[in-house]
């Protein structure tokens, strides 16, 4: 069965690019969430194998998404990738400390993201 990936990102362009890059890999199904809140609502509806989240979002930030998932009895086993920028080193460190498996820095190449995804759930 294809593995399910939840992409949390408020920019629709970025979101569909990430989805396209992952879908290129063939064996993954991507669900898109346009905000942290949307992601929280989607979590109980499907069993995700991986979550990829942006940090800078309007309602709750990506670190809070990581913390929520990693402290939640039902989801704590889901690995997360955080999308950061070169500017936010502090945020990146915090994300990893909270339990994110990997980070990727914008802008990234197709194969960078694909490599990271494969490394975690390939």
């Amino acid at each position: 069965m294809s593995k399910k990936i939840l992409v949390v990102e408020d920019s629709s362009t970025m979101r569909s690019m990430i989805a396209a890059i992952i879908e290129e890999m063939g064996d993954f199904v991507v669900t898109e969430a346009g905000s942290g809140f949307e992601a929280l609502k989607m979590l109980p509806t499907e069993k995700f194998d991986l979550i990829i989240t942006d940090i800078n979002m309007p309602d709750i930030n990506g670190l809070e998404v990581v913390n929520f998932v990693k402290t939640h009895p039902n989801y704590k086993k889901i690995p997360l990738i955080i999308i950061t920028t070169e500017r936010s080193e502090e945020d990146r460190k915090k994300g990893i400390a909270l339990g994110a498996s990997e980070y990727i820095t914008k802008p990234f190449k197709h194969d960078e993201l694909q490599t990271v995804v494969r490394r975690i759930i390939g």
């Binding site: 408020d10 920019s11 629709s12 362009t13 970025m14 569909s16 690019m17 396209a20 942290g36 809140f37 929280l40 609502k41 109980p44 940090i55 800078n56 309007p58 309602d59 709750i60 930030n61 670190l63 809070e64 990581v66 913390n67 929520f68 402290t71 939640h72 009895p73 039902n74 920028t85 500017r87 936010s88 502090e90 945020d91 915090k94 400390a97 909270l98 914008k106 802008p107 990234f108």
Partner: protein, 678 residues
Amino acid sequence: MNMKDKKKDEPYIEFIAEAEEILEVITKNLLTMEESQDRLSPHPDIINAIFRGVHTLKGIAGMMGFNTITELSHTLESLLDSMRMGRLTLTSVVIKLLFESTDMLRKLVEKVSKDGNDNIDTSRLLSDIENLLKKKPEESAAHKLEELDLDANVLKVLTEYENHRLEENLRLGSNIFEITAGFSLETFDKDLNQINSMVSGFGEVITTLPSSGASPDIGIEFKLIIGTKEDLNYVTSVLSGTNVKIREIKYQRKNEKIKTGGEHEEAQASESPSSVKSLSMTVRVNISRLDRLLNIVGELVLNKAVITHISKNLRVIEGFSEWAIELEKAARTLDKKLNELQEGLMEVRMVPLNNLFDRLTRMARKLSRESGKIIDIRIFGEETELDRLMIEEIADPLMHIVRNSVDHGIETQEERIKSGKKEIGTIKLSAMQRGSHVVIEVEDDGSGINIKRVKDIAVEKGLIAPNSSLTEKDAIDLLFTPGFSTSKVVTEVSGRGVGLDVVRKNLIKLNGMVDVETKERVGTKFIITLPITLMILKALIVQVADDIFALPINSVSESLMITKRDIQTVEGREVVQLRDKTLPILRLEDAFGMKSKDVNPDSMYVVVVGSGSRKIGFVVDALLGQQEIVIKSLGKILSGIQGIAGATELGNRKTVLVLDVGALIEESVQEYKEEVKG
């Protein structure tokens, strides 16, 4: 364009659409900043919103490989980051640069959409921004956040920016509170938004932290950290209606309230006196307080009517006429002052439509992206003001209409090209004030309403007989019939189970009207007419048999005097001729099952109500005059009565019923349709 090219172009189109949207948000925030009293110390959310926009733009431009946009937004992002982190003070020079940069970004995005590249020289702008950044960062006093009595988890999840906002709140001597609340998984976003908007009335939400809470399968818990100048009592009282726990966050070590040192505070005060002043220039008031005041005014208006009535009666009593004249004069002055008071209060409740229009534009953009249509959204008259409550009430109906335009109105690009139209569809949102009404129009240059298709569907759904002939007007009426939807497939966009019938019903509730003009292949225009305010109405007082009714004058267009001979019967329905049109009439005594009095067949009155395609005449026995009324609700037991909006007291302390014009028109149209169908 073959399929493959199209697929390749998709991120392109999406990039341009999102970039335009971002630039609009940035511009809007810049304008808000520019127009506000304290333009050099704007609300942190404004700077952060601009930062976030530039940040996202940089991210997507970087992914698309548009280097000039990436470079400019990167430099601009550094500037904004310094501002939001308090390292750079906002000056007029900075504001000017921000505007220039936004203009340049817009030019670059235009270039991309025209030529597919972003090759424009931006070096001067870049060096201007970089020069500003070279200035020495301002020192800001560090606060020991780890000494705060905060849950350790909270500090772990704060982004750098949120960290800074917490420090900044402490530096300015704000109180910090932790608000904890549990919600159901289904509704938490709405519930939380409600609390957020309450908090933003008196403080700043620094962060929102979700956690699984006690029942992780059905619920979710949130901790909000907020900063405010208000104290615990105030925060508790404002949030008293909600189910939250509130805790004040203090420094852990006793007797060492670090907050801000006295010296520093003074320095701060003399540094930016403008910000202190501006705080006192505006007040946020809960709308319910205004409602209470307005109700009192409403009651005073009634009292004034009593006084006028007494003075009229006194006048005819011998020996009192002089007093009566004095009393009347006093009543007139009272009337004038009451009007001023009422107008003042109304004015306070008025807010411009721009917020709502922005929301609609955003939604339309999102929908158009989702449906793959390219739509230009144009806005006119967004400065038009409307009562605050009214704006909330019309938001959903308007969203529905805009959704319809995107989904059913505007054609796909291919269809538009085929029919020789401009590739890009246009939706025009406009508002204007006309007297005591506001007219809001949603106009698209789409396919218009296809009458044949409307007919087919209505036949299919059993709403009309297969052989009935439909005029354009009938077709439009059908659109507003419950259970009607012309969409063949239920789409993500407008297939949400609410039809235009609900839209009309909601607008009627507000004493509003909705009208449609449509031309096949040219487009459709929805016209919504609303009274500016709901509370106090001018009413026409009419007599029907032995009863007196009040009719809101804003729904009355004229009144006619007719004789019995003027009434004709067309298709089993009574009509009169109104200039070149036939006007259906409704005898109110029939509508309410009253015994009709013998009326003079040579003088009957017809009050013409409604607008556009929905005009109807109410037959009444006498017109008694005009008066200001305050509508009161009928209470639970009587509130279900069709055709009655409420009750009001007239000056002579008589209670009369206020007619619900919209519902009466509706009812009469429905009945007529059923008769024809049957």
